[in-house]
């Protein structure tokens, strides 16, 4: 059997020989790969992404299906539990390692990467930070291997940015809690389009005060827990399954309560920080790919007897895209390199990187379609998918408006002097 990695189609190969000096030459330490393990991780994920994720991206986008076998390969590579302790089946790495995986996967298939995020960050990392030893022993190894696919339920049909306005309740009943409500926009909410996904961290109201929310682990098959609907016809992120999940008198034992009763708000805020930095990294990967495609096309496509890269309008689009991408990337990695996963209170920059990178990727993707012209408008050239996928990052994991709110509120709390 010929080594398929060495037979990648020409269109996906890197035609550039120059590598950004800020990023270091290949394999060297830099802001973006601060240790040898990060270097090795990035090379491995990039190689895997180019050989195995790229070829299936277009088709899964078209059919709106989740590639479960490929997802499980991420488990084999030790990527699903990237921030989970080795004791529980993970790889025990840091925020930057998570960001590297996100960026490299998003450069070829942001939708597949989104499902990876929901599982590894929103479920596994949250559980790793906030769960008890018993809960981690029960769920982490299976999630790290990819045997179970997990997600997190926060948003509702009536509560998105106003997350603490959630209406889902968990009422105590003896040794149990009874959960009622609906959750919306749940990535990995379904894996086959028919049943729910395997395990979820579910936020529900358990007290009178606005911030009295608690977090529970709900499993597929629990009576009353069902798939409301698979959300179809999404603009982008189509290969990632999104669902509405319904809770009708779902009884969970108190052993499924994660952390303190009425104490989940801090868990939520803490995990939102790494989630937002990871989403910003997705924007970075999307932008990187768009710039590579623009640069490649501008040297090969000819008009009026010369490569279109000789024309100022194209030069402007490529140069501005590169500078914006590098500025955003530097902000993201500086933030992730200083992000302690067990800490909270990094709102300014976790919200800030996503706010900045989200718009950056959208702009860069738009320029990429423009540079590629008619070809950019077709699926085969990939940039139209990246353009559609990029838009989500201004909404999912926090709308732009939520970042505005959080960041200015933080100024109010912490004072107005900047470092």
């Amino acid at each position: 059997m010929l080594a398929s990695r060495f037979l990648r189609p020409l269109s996906t190969r890197c035609l550039s020989t120059a590598v950004s000096p800020l990023g270091g030459g290949s394999g060297t330490l830099s802001l973006f790969s601060p240790s040898e393990e990060h270097v090795g991780l990035r090379e491995m994920v990039r190689s895997f992404a180019e050989s195995e994720v790229e070829p299936q991206a277009l088709e899964h986008n078209r059919t709106e299906t989740f590639n479960l076998p490929l997802f499980r390969k991420l488990g084999d590579l030790g990527l699903l539990g990237v921030t989970v302790e080795e004791e529980y089946g993970g790889s025990g790495m840091d925020a930057t390692a998570c960001v590297i995986v996100m960026e490299e996967l998003s450069a070829v298939d942001p939708a597949f990467c989104l499902s990876y995020l929901a599982h590894s960050c929103l479920f596994l990392n949250n559980l790793n930070q906030n769960g008890s030893h018993e809960q981690k022993v029960k769920y982490s190894p299976g999630a790290c291997s990819g045997e179970i696919v997990g997600g997190m339920c926060m948003s509702e049909p009536g509560a998105g940015t106003d997350v603490l306005g959630m209406a889902t309740t968990a009422t105590p009943k003896g040794d149990d809690y009874v959960i009622n409500g609906q959750k919306m926009w749940i990535t990995n909410g379904t894996v086959d389009g028919v049943n729910t996904g395997d395990a979820f961290l579910v936020y529900a109201r358990t007290g009178e005060a606005r911030s009295d929310v608690s977090m529970f682990i709900v499993e597929k098959g629990m009576p009353g827990f069902s798939l409301g609907q698979k959300i179809e016809n999404k603009l982008g992120m189509r290969a990632s399954m999104t669902a509405e999940l319904v809770f009708e008198d779902v009884v969970v034992n108190k052993s499924q309560l994660v952390g303190q009763l009425n104490g989940a708000a801090i868990c939520m805020m803490r995990n939102l920080e790494i989630e937002r930095v990871a989403l910003a990294a997705m924007s970075s990967g999307i932008a990187r790919r768009c710039i590579e495609e623009m640069a490649k096309y501008s040297t090969t496509r000819k008009a009026f007897g010369k490569p279109i890269g000789d024309f100022g309008q194209i030069q402007k689009m490529i140069a501005e895209s590169y500078a914006e991408y590098m500025a955003s990337k530097s902000y993201i990695y500086n933030t992730s390199n200083n992000l302690d996963l067990s800490s909270a209170g990094n709102v300014m920059d976790s919200d800030g990187v996503k706010l900045f990178a989200g718009k950056m990727a959208k702009d860069v993707a738009d320029r990429a379609i423009q540079v590629l012209g008619g070809n950019g408008y077709t699926g085969e050239y990939r940039v139209e998918q990246l353009w559609r996928d990029a838009k989500l990052l201004e909404i999912g994991g926090g709308t732009n408006e939520s970042h505005h709110k959080n960041m200015t509120k933080w100024f109010g709390k912490a004072g107005t002097t900047l470092p």
């Binding site: 080594a3 060495f6 890197c14 290949s26 270097v39 590579l77 790889s91």
Partner: protein, 252 residues
Amino acid sequence: MRVLVGVKRVVDYAVKVRVAADKKAVDLANVKMSMNPFCEIAVEEAVRLKEAKKATEIIAVSIGPKAAAETIRTALAMGCDRGIHLTTDARTDQELGPNSVAKLLAKVVEEESPDAIILGKQSIDGDFGCTGAMLAEHLKIPQCTFAAAIDFDAKTVERETDTGTEVVSFPSLPAVFTADLRLNEPRYATLPNIMKAKKKKIDTKAADSLGVELNEGNTVLEVFEPPPREAGIFVDDVDGLVDKLKNEAGVL
């Protein structure tokens, strides 16, 4: 059985190389470098032997600049146990020739006494395809080149030829094997193994401290891109074709 594997740091196979302005070499500035694909296949074969409990130790050796240590780390992350790095500032794509490499590897073999030496069949920068055979000659041991399958129990190797494959047998170990494309499909290093690789040992020595003459007396005169392929022509009939082939192309 202990196995020695050679790994070379080369220009990544997907990069479109450019000739340097002085036409003396390929321009390597800021170019992405990776492990030679055939070396990856060699490492994979060795790691599979260890997993099948046929090998007890795998040593990865590389001859190259300081950055070649990264290539050894990749080999360690794939499953090799330790590394040997012979450092040199000579360009490994053209200054350091296959005979010099073979002599250096022979020194390593004399020191380490492996039972099997597995190399890639050729490097994708030099493309000589000679190192394995030269190494076997220096050591006076059997060589099985262009291996598509190696059976250490039956002592046979299926090797690739221009007309298909043939099966040869080797009398004994130690022996040199060179890996061809179909020998196996190399694995991705898993993240846990990438992390473990950091703790594995790499011994570093200068290549010119081994008492081997490294200058082979070859000078590269010029490096140039092949001329662009020109358009073909139509001929009217077979006679016209034969005429062109004989009188213009000079191949008949």
